[in-house]
């Protein structure tokens, strides 16, 4: 394989992990959304590069979805929601930044160890891609469990989903990738519309998931 092509793919996939780390310690909603937009842009670049080196023009559609929908429309919509709900001040994290970063590093190390070990037969490109993708997925999960705020949980989920798209495009010639990324976009749109339509803020006077516990059917 062409060295330069591999290096660029590697750089972009690694960049996605790096941006995931940056997402991990954002403590303001607006900056979280900005970094997420960058996350989606890096993903779009990575997918477009994969489309080029794999000669798979349909992947450009996935890249376009990532760029237009995830990097612009969704962050802008979420910004508006955040502004409307008046929750732009800050987000509390359940665990401190230090332990979270350490946990994040451990997760990325874990995904490297696991994925590189089980894929000796694959091309280097696919191996690295899967390892990075698993790292992004696990970091996304970490973001979701360390946040209590509905909007930042959604951002965590979306970054997780970016990891999945990275994995799917890295798997050479995988069918249905465009359909799957489209299905995921619908899912995300649903979540965003859900926050907005269900007006979790108005209903509960907070978008803090912790406060929702109060309404559980069984609390005395």
């Amino acid at each position: 394989m062409d060295h330069l092509a591999f290096d660029i793919a590697h750089l972009l996939a690694g960049g996605l992990v790096l941006v995931s780390f940056i997402l991990l310690y954002q403590d303001r909603l607006y900056s979280l959304l900005n970094i997420y937009a960058i996350h989606a842009m890096v993903l779009a670049a990575s997918v477009a590069w994969q489309a080029r080196i794999q000669n798979a023009p349909h992947l450009y559609i996935t890249a376009l979805i990532a760029l237009g929908f995830k990097a612009f429309i969704i962050p802008l919509a979420l910004r508006r929601i955040v502004a409307r709900l008046g929750i732009h001040r800050e987000i509390e994290t359940v665990v401190g930044i230090g332990p979270t970063m350490l946990a994040g590093m451990a997760l990325v190390a874990l995904s490297m160890v696991v994925m590189l070990k089980v894929t000796p037969g694959e091309t280097p490109l696919a191996r690295e891609d899967l390892a990075f993708a698993l790292g992004v997925v696990l970091l996304g999960l970490l973001i979701m469990v360390t946040r209590r705020n509905a909007v930042s949980q959604v951002v965590g989920f979306m970054s997780l989903e970016n990891g999945l798209v990275l994995a799917a495009t890295g798997a050479k010639g995988m069918p249905l990738v465009v359909e799957i990324s489209f299905a995921f976009s619908i899912l995300i749109a649903f979540i965003v519309i859900g926050i907005f339509l269900f007006r979790i803020r108005e209903r509960f006077d907070t978008v803090d998931i912790g406060a929702l516990d109060r309404f559980r059917g069984e609390e005395r």
Binding site: V118, F157, L176, A183, F198, I200, G217, E218
Partner: protein
């Protein structure tokens, strides 16, 4: 004959719910909607019945009909039909008391058919990517239905279900991608590497290490949707806060569909001898769920929530049985799955009417049902006795089979399982005592209930407990041998 060609049962099973959904979305009038819903569900049931007699199409890249999924499809359409009958009565009452508006009902009926479509598609999918998409659609529709009442509790339940369900779905997709990556060097690029029938033919040549990791993701991902123990948190809320017909469909069908996805991959993994056996993973998750849910049954104050925990327990037992594997345990698992679907949806039909009459789901506010509402009261007694696993009802047979088949191979596990079953049994009967007997509590307004679906289900469970017809046994035995 060419006129009937597009109406073969396979495409009919997909086209009927889709067409009905489109029709229901545009038609005003909830009465008409309810009727069309029932008719569409009935037609789907007929199409499913035709699957047994009509010749099966050869498996294509997207759809597959084999002996395994026919069982699931038949069960799915049957419970889908009875639930639609129950739903018609239930929904009329909700409209009367103003909990739902006609506009929401239109939406509800359309969504019901979309859900039936998605579940059937997931069961018929021969393509692991398509199966994933179908389960995602089913998740989305149920999320919307759970939040239908738009109360605090309903929204919280829907949100929780949404987040946990999405994470589960995401993990399952990662597992699906890994299966493709493992298959691609052997089967080649493109759609063939995602087709289940070509995967199973070549699976012995696939990289076992990659399949190991893939199965962990698939089990965790689809296991979330089955409601297995560490990932079950969404299930009680979703059952308690959504409309009761949806609780019945969730417990009776959607959990099965997710389990079916796990089973498909289990068969795949079992066919490659170098892969770590998938059974023990399923056994431990199933056992944990059963024990955990059995204890959780004690502190429940909400009647629908209690039966939701009972669903977790039974899904645990079923997963356990399939994890043990072998002809007998698989047979027991299949039988238990069928019996649980019928019983649990039957119970939810009863509970739905009871909660409507009493105007509450709190166990403490419901009492003496056998006196005030003999039909509903005794229906509940029959249902709970069945779900608790007392003879002569069907669940006794299947639980007995699960436990005895385990005793022969892993006595310690069987002891733990039997313990969990007994703990759950005691909890259910304890609550039943207050609900059905003793002093009457709550409203004693006459019931406007549809007894037919409820007693049809419970009657079938009773009949199966007393006598299982030979052809059915032979069929289940055949399917059990496929499950490995």
């Amino acid at each position: 004959m060419s006129f009937f060609a597009p109406l073969d049962p396979v495409s009919a099973l997909l086209i009927i719910p889709l067409a009905a959904a489109a029709l229901l979305a545009v038609l005003p009038g909830y009465r008409l909607g309810a009727v069309i819903n029932v008719i569409a569900a009935f037609l789907t049931l007929c199409a499913a019945a035709l699957l047994f007699v009509a010749g099966r199409p050869a498996p294509g890249p997207y759809l597959l009909i084999d002996d395994l999924n026919v069982v699931f499809i038949a069960l799915n359409s049957f419970v889908g039909f009875t639930t639609s009958v129950f739903s018609a009565t239930y929904i009329a009452h909700e409209l009367e008391i103003g909990r739902l508006t006609p506009r929401y009902l239109r939406f509800y009926h359309a969504m019901y058919q979309v859900l039936m479509f998605a579940m059937t598609l997931a069961l018929m999918a021969n393509n692991i990517g398509l199966m994933w998409v179908a389960i995602e659609i089913a998740t989305l529709t149920t999320v919307i239905m759970v939040g239908l009442y738009r109360t605090h509790e309903a929204l919280e339940a829907a949100w929780k279900y949404f987040i946990l369900g999405s994470v589960g779905i995401a993990l399952a997709l990662f597992g699906t991608i890994l299966v493709y990556v493992a298959a691609e060097p052997v089967i080649g690029e493109g759609i063939e590497s995602m087709v289940w029938t070509s995967l199973i033919a070549q699976v012995a040549k696939l990289d076992p290490a990659l399949l190991n990791v893939a199965f962990v993701f698939l089990l965790l991902g689809y296991g979330t949707k089955v409601g297995l123990a560490p990932l079950h948190a969404w299930l009680p809320d979703a059952h308690a806060e959504g409309p009761t017909p949806i609780s019945a469909v969730l417990s009776g069908l959607l959990l099965n569909v997710a389990l079916y996805a796990v089973l498909r991959f289990k068969i795949l993994m079992a066919a490659n001898t170098a892969v770590v056996a998938p059974g023990p993973l399923m056994v431990s998750m199933g056992l944990t769920s059963a024990v955990f849910a059995a204890f959780m049954l004690y502190r429940r104050r909400d009647i629908k929530r209690m039966f939701a925990y009972s669903s977790i327990e039974h899904m645990g037992i079923i997963t356990f049985a399939f994890g043990m594997g072998g002809p007998l345990a698989n047979f027991a698992g299949l039988l238990h799955m069928t019996m649980h679907s019928l019983t649990k949806s039957g119970i939810f039909f009863t509970v739905g009417h009871i909660a409507q009459i009493k105007g509450t789901q709190r166990i403490a506010d419901i009492g003496g049902l056998t006196e005030t509402h003999p039909w509903l009261g005794w229906g509940l007694v029959l249902g709970v006795v069945a779900i608790a696993g007392l003879p002569p009802l069907g669940i006794f047979t299947s639980e007995f089979l699960v436990v005895t088949s385990t005793f022969a191979r892993a006595p310690l596990l069987a002891v733990i399982l039997a313990f969990a079953i007994l703990v759950a049994f005691a909890a259910l009967l304890l609550r039943l005592n207050g609900l059905a007997f003793g002093e009457a509590r709550g409203s004693t307004a006459p019931a406007e209930a549809s007894y037919l679906p409820m007693f049809a289900h419970l009657g079938l469970v009773l009949a199966a407990g007393i006598y299982l017809p030979g052809p059915l046994v032979a069929w289940f035995q055949h399917v059990s041998s496929l499950l490995g």
